[in-house]
Amino acid sequence: MSDISLRSRFRLGGTRARRLVLAVRIIAGSAIALFALTTPGFTSPISINALLNAISFIGCVAVGMTFITLTGNIMSLCLGATVSASALVFLASLSAGVLPAFLIAIAFGVIITAAQGALVGFFRANPILVSIAGLSLLIGGAALATGGQRIYPGGEGLQMFKGRVAGIPVEALYFFATVVIGQLILSWTRIGRVMVMVGSNPRAAYAAGVGPASAITVAYVLAGACSAVSGVLLAARYGSGDMELGAGYDYTAIAAVLVGGTAIQGGSGSVIRTLAGVTVIAIIEVVLLLRGFSQQLQYFITGLIVLAVIMLHTIGERR
């Protein structure tokens, strides 16, 4: 048993499962593409537009979720509520002007998730439980603050968050900007690399002298900022807001992260992958819609896809 043969065995063993997973991905991707392109009306400007919109709102949240998943904290159940709450904050502070309101909303989202990140990072609290607590606090707090009413603010200048530039919906531009910035943070900054290290192996990160706590907190900060962007876009689009606005976004976002191929255990994945994941899910939804399937069936199919992807990951990790 020379070192060489042992090495090649492991290499083969490791990549064989990975190759299988890759093959399944490619086949599934092609099938979806084929399915989409043969659906009448899929390539029409209207459905492409719908697709871009669907991608944008969910996509920002999914990019934020990517950071949480990557650092090994699975997911946050609070991001949907953060979307809604920052939309409310944005609408409520519109009287100060659009740009200040935007910044206030982002700051609000960041504060909400930074607090959770600090609990998870510094006190090693369970991320899922912390996010459930955060969700309750947000919903309760919003009900107290708004008296349970929808908000319809007056205000001008929301054009910078809706409409189109060169035929592309503005929402999509904000989303793509979020993707680019997110990926740059991940692959070009020290803290981005540390996040991946922490997700891959928190004990090794600690032993290597890079603090897991601050990296985890930063991941949550980014998740909050991304969710707030989504909240602002939604608020601008509908011109009003309540806590239902982002409900269920966390679930679709984690689905997109997983479909994209980011490992649920953390330590492997990227924002670009999440972009792919969110696109796939949006395509499926639009296609189902065009073919006349109900909303309920869409949920059903999304659930099946997430299950399939999780199984695929399990196979890929197996030796």
Partner: protein, 497 residues
């Protein structure tokens, strides 16, 4: 007639033969030690007996009849019971419940009294007659838990008890209790397979000993007919010179000084002066404190105290970055758990601790990182063609080189704290790692290593510090120590009384 035997047992994982044509048999009323280095095949053999693995070639015989053991359940039905290092008791449940937990003989509606009586009888046989059946297992010491586990196996009519390093974490008194329980089982007609690293125990409690090396059976001897050096020779199978580099000890002046190091609850007062260019080995078993000293110096122990100086500068404990700033780097014995980022690439692993050096305002300088990774790979003997492969595709030996590459520096010589440098590393890569260590000591590094591998300790060290239960027993210069003395120090030191 032997109660349990294997003939020509061969087990492969891919092209890798971990058991090669092993033949051995165990009689009733026999306590059999199985010895061998890490990776010799001991645990694979145990897994064959307990139905976790099946042999590729050869046969397993129970009561002289060829028998398949396709599952751990079947092994239990055949009366083969494993007392693993990780005990399988449920801490929150009582002794009584643990004894009957998962026993399929017990019907849903049963007479509690009969179960109590049988449990009591079994506990008496292992020397726990005084133990109240309602005591929660969590209140028992590890040693007593092992005895409860033995009693549990007894109620299942086990005939062969397999103990995997039962004494590794026990005190002398507890070890003595286990031994008397084993003698009692033997008197009952039971057979015992006893896996251990402690050669003293082989002679104290076992009737016979089988030695495995690289998956092959070297031989089986009666302990009465063999002595310790002979047993060592069987285990190692080669002169130590081929494995280890030759070198001249060149004292280079104190590099690391440790005074009054306390690492609660194990280490009370540890002192050490480590010189530049030297390999200092802390020799000790699990619980000796050697690993704890290393972790404390690395900054990983929250309540460690002591006066540490590196090259005359004081170094504060309890923070990994501070230890690193003092050029003290740590290489964990637990590669997968704490050492290597398995999902990251090899290159990313190599630069994991140097991101700040190679970034400006928090933005990574990728060309410099790549250059650093390539340089470090070259220095540590990691294949440069694999910098972009995930680290989990590397073999154990290459992962260890990777961990070493991450710890060394481009510039100033450092103090390296390395635990169990060759655990899970095959023989060829071992020699490479030893050469690597020596090579860096020649460049002025100081290497402190904690090891429970006596052969390695004697083959690599300039200074050996033997440790037992948190205390330094003795210190030897190179050439002063021999296997017996170090083994005696780290197992049952004379001075320990």
């Amino acid at each position: 007639m032997p109660i349990l035997a294997v003939e020509g047992a061969t087990k492969r994982f891919g092209p890798n033969e971990v058991l090669k044509n092993v033949t051995l048999s165990l009689d009733a009323r026999e306590i059999r030690a199985i010895c061998g280095e890490n990776g010799a095949g001991k645990s694979t053999l145990v897994k064959v007996f307990t139905g976790v693995h099946q042999v590729d070639d050869g046969i397993v015989l129970v009561d002289g009849k060829p028998t398949d053991i396709p599952s751990p359940q079947r092994a239990q039905e055949l009366g083969i019971a494993l007392v693993a290092q990780e005990l399988s008791l449920a801490p929150a449940l009582s002794v009584l419940d643990n004894i009957w937990l998962g026993n399929r003989e017990v019907p849903l509606f049963h007479r509690r009294k009969a179960l109590r009586e049988r449990a009591k009888a079994a506990l008496e046989k292992v020397g726990l007659g005084d133990l109240a059946l309602e005591t929660p297992v969590s209140q028992l010491s590890i040693g007593r838990r092992q005895l409860v586990e033995l009693a549990r196996m007894l109620t299942r009519d086990a005939r062969v008890f397999i103990l995997d390093e039962p004494t590794a974490t026990l005190s002398d008194v507890e070890i003595e209790r286990i031994f008397s329980a084993l003698r009692a089982l033997k008197a009952e007609g039971k057979s015992i397979i006893y896996i251990t690293h402690r050669l003293g125990e082989v002679f104290e409690i076992c009737d016979t000993v089988s030695v495995l090396r690289n998956g092959e059976l070297v031989g089986t001897r009666r302990t009465a007919e063999i002595d310790r050096p002979h047993l060592m020779q069987m285990m190692l199978g080669r002169s130590m010179g081929e494995m280890y580099p030759r070198w001249e000890t060149k004292p280079g002046g104190a590099m690391l000084e440790v005074k009054n190091l306390r690492v609660p609850p194990v280490v009370q007062n540890f002192n050490l002066t480590a010189e530049r260019g030297m390999v200092i080995c802390l020799a000790g078993q699990v619980g000796s404190g050697a690993i704890e000293v290393q972790r404390a110096l690395a900054g990983l122990v929250a309540d460690a105290t002591g006066d540490i100086t590196v090259l005359g500068q004081p170094m504060r404990l309890r923070s990994v970055p501070r230890s690193q700033a003092a050029n003290v780097q740590f290489i964990s014995e637990d590669r997968a758990g704490e050492g290597v980022f398995l999902r990251l690439r090899v290159g990313q692993n190599l630069v994991a601790t140097r991101l700040s050096e190679h970034s400006r305002f928090g933005v990574l300088d990728h060309p410099r990182l790549r250059a650093a990774a390539t340089r470090l790979a070259g220095a540590a003997g990691v294949d440069r063609g694999r910098l972009r492969s995930p680290a989990d595709e590397l073999s154990g030996g290459n992962q260890q080189k990777l961990a070493f590459g991450r710890a060394i520096s481009d510039g100033e010589p450092e103090v390296l704290l390395m635990n169990e440098p060759t655990r899970g590393v095959d023989v060829g890569a071992r020699a490479e790692i030893y050469r690597l260590i020596r090579q860096f000591c020649d460049r002025g590094y100081c290497l402190v290593m904690a090891s429970s591998d006596i052969e390695e300790v004697l083959g690599m060290s300039d200074v050996i510090v033997s440790m037992y239960r948190g205390r330094q027993i003795a210190s030897y210069r190179r050439g002063e120590a021999d296997v017996q003395r170090v083994l005696a120090d780290i197992t049952h030191p004379v001075a320990a009384a």
